[in-house]
Structures are given as C-alpha cells and as structure tokens.
Assembly symmetry: C2
Homo-oligomer: 412 residues x 2
C-alpha cells in the first residue's frame, strides 16, 4: 500500500531511480554494522559515521567481543571486494559539530539512522565521570544531529534508536510513545510517561524530549525506535565473510541478557539470574533490528511528525530465558545450571509488563521469533569461540547503589 515500502529507489529529477542515501551513525557497533551492511545490500547508498569510541571502552575496561571483529577499514574493504558496493566512512565524534557538519554537507543524507551513543546501563553506573560522559555524549550528540538536519538537510528523516527501558515497568499497558488520557472530563493524547532506571536509560528519555521539541519547532521528521533487547549475531550480510562478522558482547557491562546466557552456557558458567528473575522485557532478533530500521526509512513520517515505534517482537522474563537456554543447551549436549546473583540494579523483580508493538508489524515487519534453531545456532556459535571467553568478565561488578563520585580505576 505504501509506494515507498520495501524499495530504496525514488524517482530523481531526471526520471531515473536514485538510491536513497542513509547515514548510519554508530555504524561500527553491534546494531549499526549489521544495519549498514543490510541497507547497502538492499541498494541504499550508505555512509558510516562513528568515533570508534566503543572499541576504546573495550580496551579501557579490558573487555572484548566473543567474536573476533575486523577493523572498520577492513570491514568496509571486504564488503567492497565481495559485493562491489561502497560504504563511505566518516570517523569522528558527533559531539564535534564541525566534524558532523562536514559529514552532512558532503554526504547529504536522505535519512540518518542514529545508533551512535554510549548504550550500556552498567557503564553509565560505574562512576560519576562515566555517568556524566554518557548523558553528555548521548544528549549533546543527538542535539548536534538535530542542528545538522535543520541547517544542512532539512528534509532528512531522523531514525533514532531509543530503548524500551525509557518506559520502565508501569502497572498499566505500555503504548507506543503516546497515551490518550481522560482526566477530570477532558481528554488529550500526551507523551507516555517515562521512568528510566539508569543514567544511560535516562539519556534516551532526554533525547526523546529534545527530538519531540525540534519536530514541533523546526518541522523535523523523526522516528524514535524504542528498541527491546537485541539477541543473535548472524545476519545475511555479516555471515558472508569472517571479516564482516559482528561483535557479540557477553561481559557484565556490555553483554545483554540472552546473548550472555548463551555464552555462559557454552563455557559452563551458571546462568546469572539477577534477583528473582521476574524482570520482563521486550526482545528481538538482530535480523529484525535491520528489518525494522529499513521499514522506518522506507516509510518516513511527515515533516514535523515525531513517530514512536516500539521495536521488539516478544516479551520474556529473565527466568523464562534461563529455562529456554537450559533446554536448548541440553539438546546440544550442554549441562546448564542457573545461579541467583544479588541484583546489582535497582529495579522491580516482579511486575506487570504488557507493551504494545504493532506499528512496525503494520509496516510489514516479519518477525524472527525466538526459536530452537536460533538458540542452537547461537549456542554453537558461542561454543566455537569459547576459548576467547574471559570468565572473570561474567559476574556483575557495577552496582547501582554503590556508584561513587571518584573515578573508578579498573586495574586488576
């Protein structure tokens, strides 16, 4: 029904189809790299903007991806040699507006997908300076992107990665961005109330408010993708060659629930359930991340419109994930145990959770639901690389309550 859906081509002035240009900010990261390749494969013209600061965090904290990952330069060279497709690369920090201006002026994107933030809740809770870095990096970076669009590329569609964690765990259904409230006999549709629970999640709430304002004041068109927890590592494109392989984080700072459990199972570490394990969240396969972003780009909103989509496909509690991984482990011959870890976070461990996620389905999302075959493949993947696992990085070391104001030096 939507003429632009599923196609990266739009008619140019000369009548010939012209590829849409997409800037992928944070394109060296987990979601960004998979998305950049996917969009390039689908015929979009892609430019990656990344400061590579994520690789620096790993060095500084002594962490590493389960999978060996090539440098961004080699990744892009390999993609070119395999497919003939060029991905432009702009290395720099989006908090540096001069750099960002240059990237916008030279590439002139039709859409900017913004993954480029510090995205770990535990990282943001290590110490004061990392809390402040997270909010500064994310909020100022996003403000700069908004100014760049306003000044240099007014019609550019901003596709911004938010998180389902912005909503917290209210005792009512979570809607997609807005809620219609009838109060004292009057009705309005207002931004859904936010209750974030780390300095990282809060930075996303700040971004959402800033973006909503600029849509209204400047006529920017933006789509906020409130993404759930992403799992998996393979996508059609990253599978094509070892040098295209994506990162997979399993450590307690950057690793996320299901990915962590699979690696834990592979190395024989008991699954680390925090607290009671009733924490329920939305999850999605990384193959759906790339699909959702493409759908958002292919179906932009109107100028001035601030759209919010909840980007996940299924809800699970931590206990449910643990038992899924335990069963899948059995099938591939792993004896998986579970251990209850004192919760390092401040969060409800048993709560109501029912979040809507129909808007991306309406645009055509075909979900890859969590299946035995995905768990098999992820477990086998983890087994393949298990010698690379540093088991000291598995237990949580960052506590929400004991974060201090002094820089935490991370020598062992």
């Amino acid at each position: 029904t939507n003429p632009r859906s599923g196609s990266s081509q739009a008619a140019a002035a000369d009548g010939l189809p012209k590829a849409q240009k997409v800037m992928v900010i944070g394109g060296d990261g987990y979601c960004g790299w998979a998305t950049a390749l996917h969009l390039s494969n689908k015929g979009y013209e892609v430019a990656i903007v990344d400061s590579l600061v994520r690789r620096l965090f790993d060095h500084q904290l002594g962490l590493d991806s389960l999978t060996p990952i090539a440098s961004i330069h080699n990744r892009i060279r390999r993609w070119k040699s395999l497919t003939g497709k060029t991905i432009e690369l702009h290395i720099g920090d989006i908090c540096d507006f001069e750099f960002l201006e240059e990237a916008f002026r030279s590439f002139q994107p039709d859409a900017a997908v913004h993954f480029g933030e510090q995205r770990s809740a535990p990282y943001s809770m290590i110490d004061r300076s990392r809390a402040i870095f997270t909010q500064h990096n994310n909020v100022i970076g996003t403000l700069n992107v908004l100014f760049a669009i306003k000044e240099f590329q007014q019609d550019c569609h901003l596709v911004k990665l938010g998180t389902m964690g912005e909503y917290g765990t209210p005792n009512i259904d979570i809607e997609e961005g807005y809620i219609t409230i009838t109060h004292n006999g009057r009705t309005d549709t207002l931004p859904y109330p936010k209750q974030a629970s780390s300095f990282y999640h809060l930075s996303k709430v700040h971004d959402s408010h800033n973006i909503a304002f600029t849509c209204k004041a400047w006529g920017i068109r933006a789509t906020d993708l409130n993404q759930g927890v992403v799992y998996g590592v393979r996508t059609e494109e990253t599978e094509m060659h070892e040098e295209l392989q994506n990162r997979l984080d399993y450590d307690a700072v950057f690793g996320t629930a299901l990915n962590r459990f699979c690696v834990q199972a592979a190395v024989g570490h008991p699954l680390t359930v925090y607290g009671k394990g009733g924490q329920t969240r939305g999850y999605l396969d990384i193959r759906d991340t790339v699909q959702c972003v493409e759908l958002a780009i292919a179906n932009p909103g109107r100028p001035g419109e601030f759209r919010v989509f909840n980007q996940f496909t299924e809800q699970f509690s931590v206990n449910e994930l643990a038992s899924l991984v335990t069963n899948a482990g059995k099938k591939v011959g792993l004896d998986v145990k579970t251990t209850s870890v004192p919760n390092p976070r401040v969060e409800a461990e048993e709560h109501y959770y029912n979040a809507k996620h129909t808007k991306l389905i309406e645009l055509g999302l075909q979900p890859h639901l969590l299946s035995d075959s995905l768990l098999d493949s992820l477990l086998n993947f983890a087994v393949k690389y298990k010698d690379r696992v540093d088991t000291k990085q598995i237990m949580p070391s960052v506590s929400w309550k004991s974060i201090g104001s002094k820089p935490k030096t991370l020598t062992s």
Copy 2:
C-alpha cells in the same frame, strides 16, 4: 502539626537548638538572592554557591538589570553590617565537581536549594552553542549536586527549582508532578507527561527525570518546585538597603512577562504581546518564592521520596496581564498602549490551562495575590529607574524557528 514547620531550629545532640544549614546554589540571582537573605533573616545558616555566570551573560549580551545591583561581596558585607548575620560565599561552577565537593564538605548543608541554572528560554534559543551550554550547564550541574549529596551529605534535602513550563499546555488539568491513569482496566500513578518548548525548559525536564531516578536508586530526598513566572522585586530583606537590592530584568532575553510590562509602561513603550496573547501561565510574587522555599525546607520529605509542588499562586493570560498593567498605569498617570508582536516562540496562543497548586498552600503558604498596590509599587519602581532602560533591549531578537548552528555574535 509538623514540628519543624516555620522554624529553622532542630534539637542538636547537646539538646541546644541548632540552626539548619542551607546551601543556596545560584544565590546571586534573582530568586536566589532574595531567598538567601530571607533564610538568613529567619535564622537559617546560609551559604551561597554561585559562579556569577549570570553577570557574565549580561556583559556579553549588553544587558543590565533595571536596578543597580551591588557585587555579591558587597551584598554580603552589607547584610553582615546591617544584621550581624554571616552568609558564607563559595564562588565556583557546580559543573566543576572538585569545587562542589569542597563546598559540600566544608559547609555540610542540611538542605541544598538549587537555583543555579541558565534559566532563560530565549537565551537557550539564540544559537547552537548556547542551546548546548544550557543543557550541559543545567543537567550536569544537577547531576553533580546529586552525586555530592550521595557522597558527602546523604541526608541533605535537595530543593530543586523546576518550572511550570515543563508541563507545556496539555488539554487536561495539570497535576502536581504525578497523574493517576486508568488504562485498559489497570491503574497506576505515573510522572505527569512533559511537553517542554525550549532547550531551557527541556533541561528542567531532564533534571526532573534524573532526580526522580536518584531518589529511587540512592534514597535521596528531593522536592522539585515547578515554579511559575515570578514578578516583583521587593522582599522584606532586599528593601533594607540599596546594596541589598535585587535585580530586575526587563530585556527580551531574561525579562519575564509581568516585570517586562511594568518597565515598558514606565518608559512609554507599548506592551509587547506576543501573538494572540492567550498564552496562560501560573504567576507568583517573589515574596511567595522565598516563602515557598522556606516551607519546602522546613517540611522535608522522606529519604527516597521525590516530591513535586507546583509553585505559583494565580493564572493569567498575557492579555489579562496587559490590561491589568494598562489600568494600573492609568492610576499613576501613565498612558499605556499595547502592540501585537509576531510571536518569536513556537507555542499555542490559545489553549486550555488549569494547573493545580494546592500542596504548598497545604504546607501553609499565604499567597500575596497580584494586587493594585503591588502593580503600583512595581510601576513606581520602574519609573524611578527608567533612565537606566535601554529601549533597544525590549523587542524580541531571538526566534525559535531561525536559531542556527553558527555562533551568533552579538555586536550591534
């Protein structure tokens, strides 16, 4: 009923009454100076923390207070010579944590009243660098105050100045901080949705979310005072001597509605009504600002509690204010005209507005409602200083829509 209400005394370990220590961050500013003197007068032990950056803004933009104001050093000396009371002074930027740590460790406040932010909406909309300065200064400054409380003064009550502008102009009644929502058959009380409409107002929304989180995660006790537009200049203490006089801003960047109208009337400038003039907001007399802050301090919440009070006493539309000032002008012999100025802001010019403000009344606030005598006195005050008015600063020069990314040099 509340044992601490109306008194700054609490029993110390030795049984003797011990004055409560209040840190007034931003104590050289309009609200902060009046509050610091009021609290000192009432027997609180007061320390002012201020970077004096507000005086720098004036220099840089070529603006000045209607009233001549003494240096902070002379203000404090004069207060001491008049009353015998000492106000401590810590000059520095709260974004500098080392400085803030030192101030907290040496003064050990029982309460910290936080006025110390860049508080002009137009200032935040001048150019990209001032937009970013505003969000950085306000958000990081507040994060530092939260860390300082957590680390050095766990029991310190944070009294934080927010703004009624955080709520925007929803089509339903505005509650005090929270709203109870029944949705699909379930009910929860959630943070009231925020719709701020400048980078300044947004910075306050960010602060509110950050503070709410730290109350929950760290057990901080905080009161967010969502203040309306303040008018007036005299308070019991600032009237005592010329050197104690408060600032009064009338320019288009820092001046606020009613104060501006009185100065405009005094110099024979037509009252500058932006757009249709139906913009309705909450207002309060500066004598009520100091009273409300004292009430909040005297009645602290529980550890972990995040209280939100709407701090204003009456609602007016811009058109209503214009006609009140016109009539009051007539009585003191001024022929007051009104002019409609194209609205430099992006905001609704006609809208529903009904905001609750009962919580401070319940604590004992005795409002100074806007009266003829206040308007008389404010008009006469403005007439007294009218030779100091730079009429070029009256018309708005900052536009919400045409803010750019380049630094705006402000040479004439």
